[in-house]
Each structure stands twice: as C-alpha cells, then as structure tokens.
Point group: C2
Chain length 239, copies 2
C-alpha cells in the first residue's frame, strides 16, 4: 500500500486570513490535521488559526513539542510525534501538519519532518510556504522590511552584545526574534548606537493580542511575550 | 470627500495558489487593480498571478517601473505611477496594487507608497504581507530555510567577495537574491570554502519556469534568469 503524504502547511503569523489558498485547500482535503498542542489547556496558535476551517469528520491530532533545551527530551518528543503521524501515513492516509508562521522558518515542523525521514525514509513530504513573522510585523508597522541594496540579518535568539554590534556595523536591517528574554541588554546597545529611533517592536503580529511599540527611547523596560520581534532599520529609508 | 485606500497586496512568488485569503478578498473588492507593467508586451509576473481573479468591471492599471539604476529616471517613474494611482484615490476610489513576492521585501511597491506619502501626506495605505521568495525556494527544495539558533543573512545584490567571506564566517544560512549577474564569482568563493555541496539555486520558485539546481560542484557556469536565488546552508542541519 502506498504511504500517505505529510503536508507541512504554513498557516501564517496569526490572522486566519493570512493563510494561503493552497494551504487552505490542503487543510480541507486532509483526513487528519495535526498541529502543535497548546500549553496549559489552551489551544495552540496554529490550532486557533485553522479552527474555523476544520470539519467534524477530520481527525485532529495535537502533537506535543516541549519548550525545553534538553536534546534528549526534544528527540523523545519528536520521535513520539513522528510515531503518531506515521500511524496514519503508513495506512495510506494523508496528514496535514499546520504550524504558525512558515514551516521552513525556525519551525517545529522541521524536527518532525527530519525525524520521520530518518525513521521512515519512504515518507513523502510536501511543504506549503506562508507568511513569516518579520514580514507580517513590517506590514503592521506600515514599513518595508527591506529596500534595494539593504542587507538583512535575522537572529533567532542567543545573540550576544558582540554579535549585535558587529551586525549593526554592516547590515542595514536587523530582525531579532524572541527578543523578550534579552530586551534590556538589546536596548542598551541600541541606545549606545543611537538606533532606538529606528527600532520597532511588534508583539504577536496580526494575532488578537497584537501590540506595537514605537518610541523605544522612552521604553528601556518592557515586559514582552515570547512572540515579540524587534526590527532595526539601521539605514534611513531613501525617498 | 474622503480619499480611497491604497492596498499593497503581496501576491507571492508565482504559484497563484500562494496568494493569501486576505490578499484575494481585497483584490476582488477593489474597483481599480494596479500592478507593475510587463516588459516587451508580455504580462508582468504579478499580473499573471492574479489574472484568473480579475473581473471585467475592474479597472486594470499597469504601472511602469523601469529596470534602471539612474535615480532621476526612477524618481520620475515613481512620480508618474503615484499620479496615476492618486487620480483614483483622490476621488475616493480604493486601489489594490498587486506585487509579486512580499510588498515589504525589496519591492517596487515601497517606492510607489513612499512617493505617494511624500506628495499626498493624507494618503491611506494598508499592506498585506505574503510569501517571499526565500521561503518559497526552501519549500520547493524540501528544506527548512532556518532552524533553531541559525543566523540568517539575506543579501539582495551588489555583494563583494569580501562581504561573502565575512558573512560565511559567522552566519549559518545565507540567501543571495538575483545571483544571475555574479554567479561565476560566487561559485569560486563557495568552491574555496567547500560549501558548494550545501548550496542550492532555485530559478523562478513556484513559477511555470521553475528550475532547481543541486550539485553545484558540477555547475561552475550557469545561465540564470533575473529571478534566481541561491541558498547556502553553511551549517549542516542537525538531526
């Protein structure tokens, strides 16, 4: 029996209307729809985004991906999730995995896909790209992310002061993801480099709880959620 | 009379199904749909992407943005395009401007928007983000663009050998846009750094003429189109 296909479906940053037509078609067609399980009894972000499109006949498969750094625990979680998905794929049933943002951009989907490919090399995987958070954030700010010759750097986390200063020495646009845990240090550096006036933070871009911060000069302390990103436009936009 | 709204609609990299639901809704609602004019009598890329969604009652407004570096000529073209769009906006008519990729990512839309804001500060602009070419290219390659702690650099053009070597010294993932004009030099550098096996080129990602190049070791010479991008995964993906 031929195995089913795993579709990695990028469902965008939060606004359910930022799903693509292709993503929606494949979500609707899939007999099984998987997504990262929510935390503390709350539905996860991807699950909220797709909720209105799911039909009762579809099997919903929440998969647990713990927020930990321990490689062994992570690997265990990926294997367990891969097993749950393979259960359906091995019977010839397609599975759509919905993930917030783009599934190729710092996404949980990759670990599931790589674990499956490792355990079951015959697995068929198709990826549907989507709207990533830096572009969603730029859109809600009403700004372009990048123009013309501008060099763009995206740092996902764990950036040091040295990293930041080096990057800001040559890149025109810098995006820091998950800035919540290091905001105070980042603020100090941007202050020293006189870049606070060209820096912007978006919390939960396009989600219900979206917050935008301009005027960072006045905000050395901010209590930010996990899904917060900072955009530095180190070069003044040309007109 | 209130002025109309200009919607900057990201229509994605090429596959018409990669349009978002929001982009499609706003495109269908707009009395006037603008897009970059094609070259040599051919329809432009954005125009091809949206063709099937346009209704006969909608006014189609091709806008000319020449492929030149001369700032004076560019400014003239942006002013002319802004004038064509303002003609409708000033009468209270909404205009949807459709642009390939994401309108905030190295896009012609920004020049139109900034010129309009400069000439008519009362203009209302809304941006709908979309699927950008690096994520579309990663999807068709079946690869994640970025994972975990990986630092991503995107260089749009005009990169020097020194730029590339510096970036590859610390970034885990590098994307070069419009690699066509400098491919030979880039190949030499990647060869020297032994990164050709972790490098991939996608021509016209998700468009009808899509071509994928693996095995760049064997391809020191490639005749690439304008819409070609190169992804270097300088760090081996973890499993």
């Amino acid at each position: 029996m031929p195995v089913g296909t795993l579709y990695g479906i990028s469902v965008g940053p939060g606004d359910p209307e930022l799903l693509t037509l292709k993503g929606l078609r494949l979500l609707k067609q899939a007999p099984v729809v998987a997504f990262p399980a929510g935390v503390g009894g709350q539905p996860g972000i991807a699950q909220q985004i797709i909720a209105k499109w799911l039909r009762q006949e579809q099997i919903q498969l929440p998969l647990t991906f713990p927020y930990v750094q321990d490689d062994h625990l992570l690997m265990q979680a990926w294997k367990a999730a891969a097993g749950q998905v393979w259960h359906y794929l091995s019977q010839g049933t397609d599975v759509a995995f919905a993930c917030e943002g783009d599934v190729g951009f710092y996404s949980t989907f990759t670990y599931l896909a790589q674990t499956l490919q490792h355990l079951h090399p015959s697995v068929e995987i198709q990826i549907v790209p989507g709207v990533s958070s830096p572009l969603a954030a730029a859109a809600v700010l009403g700004l372009p992310l990048t123009l013309r010759h501008q060099r763009l750097v995206i740092l996902p986390a764990l950036y040091t002061a040295t990293d930041l200063e080096n990057v800001l020495g040559w890149a025109e646009v810098l995006v820091l993801l998950k800035v919540n845990s290091v905001y105070k240090q980042v603020w100090e550096i941007l202050h020293r480099l006189q870049l606070l006036e060209r820096s912007f933070i978006v919390e939960r871009a396009t989600q219900a709880g979206q917050v935008i911060h301009h005027n960072l000069v006045e905000k050395p302390n901010l209590d930010l959620p996990y899904f917060s990103l900072l955009i530095v436009q180190a070069e003044k936009p040309i007109r």
